[in-house]
């Protein structure tokens, strides 16, 4: 008996120490309550053991209460809040944020593809311009079939005769280069729209977080009021604030549940 008590005390101390500085996940919560149940079922007679058992009872009670609160919340709240509101929080707002992100990605992909094409056109047009310039001087080189370079030579006379044609083509190449350059700069629409979309996404994410907090607070308020109808509004607000903090963050060692649990609650409503 003594050996078993010692083992349990050691196990409990190890469990509590391991979670004292972080949030309690649902697995840890289950493990801890399971351990408490074991301790409570053991026959302990000494004063020290009675004291220890009363501590275990107290802790189990609060943890159990928190778990029960979440179960009640899940069962009861969906009948008290319009499904449109819970849908908004758990489905539509997250979907909106995802959709906006997809818009940024799609426009970036399209802008990059267009710029690939424009830069290729820019390169080719510059090459054409160089060829025309060198042709004026009687000689130029162009790529032949199979990648071989072909040299083209024209006499001074011929160069003079085709000069108006060369003028026209050089001017056209210049116009193309200017239009291509301008089109490349216009791709900045992706940056400008992307920045605005990112701001909208931040707003949607904030709305989602606030609505979630509001729903959780509302659910807790309802549950607490049902349990204690005589509780004053001020007391209720204090209780709600305490519970919300316990549910949402690691403020108290061994009594917090992480945000994933809150999201899971809302997703199941």
């Amino acid at each position: 008996m003594i050996g078993r008590d010692e083992t349990m005390r050691r196990d409990l101390k190890k469990e509590v120490t391991s979670i004292v500085d972080k949030q309690l996940s649902s697995e840890e919560f289950d493990r801890l309550t399971g351990l408490f149940k074991q301790i409570l079922n053991v026959d302990m007679d000494s004063d020290g053991d009675r004291f220890f058992r009363s501590i275990a009872y107290e802790l189990t009670g609060e943890l159990k209460e928190l778990a029960q609160l979440i179960i009640d919340f899940r069962r009861g709240i969906n009948s008290k809040i319009h499904p449109n509101i819970t849908d908004l929080t758990s489905k539509f707002l997250p979907q909106t944020s995802d959709q906006l992100k997809a818009v940024i990605e799609a426009t970036e992909m399209a802008a990059n593809k267009i710029m690939d094409n424009l830069e290729n056109m820019q390169e080719e047009t510059e090459r054409i311009k160089d060829i025309l310039t060198s042709l004026r001087h009687g000689r130029t080189e162009v790529g032949g079939e199979g990648g071989e370079k072909v040299e083209i030579a024209v006499s001074k006379e011929t160069a003079g005769e085709i000069s108006p044609l060369l003028d026209y083509m050089e001017s056209a190449a210049g116009t193309f280069l200017s239009l291509i350059s301008d089109s490349i700069v216009q791709m900045s629409f992706q940056d400008l729209t992307g920045q605005r979309i990112k701001r909208a996404m931040d707003l949607v994410d904030k709305m989602e977080e606030r609505l979630k907090n509001m729903l959780v607070s509302f659910g807790i308020k309802l549950t607490e009021k049902e349990r204690n109808p005589r509780m004053s509004d001020e007391e209720l607000d204090r209780v709600v604030e305490k519970k919300v903090m316990e549910l949402a963050g690691p403020q108290k060692a061994g009594q917090g549940l992480d945000q994933a649990d809150i999201d899971e609650i809302l997703a199941r409503i």
């Binding site: 970036e108 350059s181 490349i184 700069v185 216009q186 940056d191 400008l192």
Partner: protein, 124 residues
């Protein structure tokens, strides 16, 4: 204008960095580097000798104005010409940038001619 100088483009949008790179190449610059945020920009500026910085304002973690402020308070970087290229077009933004020591302020959307004109004004 010394077209051999190293130029650093700082913007969190890859498309914008690509556009500015193209414009600078068309103007005649050949040595162009990029940074996708303010922190990376400062790191890059400390690594090599740069003659010009073109920087966006709105970037995560370290904004363009913060990059400028850090540069102006660093003995190695304080004299590097800094051009803010941004969608922020309010008077107070421009005043803030000028107070922080910006050399030129270009509002998006810009044209290639505007960039060239502003750079000619800085370098003569």
């Amino acid at each position: 204008m010394d077209f051999n100088m190293k130029v650093l483009i700082v913007d969190d949008f890859a498309t914008m960095r690509r556009i500015l790179r193209n414009v600078l190449k068309q103007i005649g610059f050949s040595s162009i580097s990029e940074a996708e945020n303010g922190r990376a920009a400062i790191k890059e500026l400390k690594k090599d000798k740069y003659g010009l910085v073109l920087c966006d304002w709105n970037m995560p973690e370290v904004t363009g104005i913060e990059v400028l402020t850090q540069m102006r308070s660093d003995s190695e970087l304080k004299d590097i010409p800094f051009v803010m290229v941004t969608a922020e077009a309010q008077k107070e933004n421009i005043i803030e940038a000028v107070k922080a020591g910006v050399n030129s302020y270009i509002v998006k959307p810009f044209t290639a001619e505007t960039i060239e004109e502003k750079l000619k004004k800085i370098f003569g």
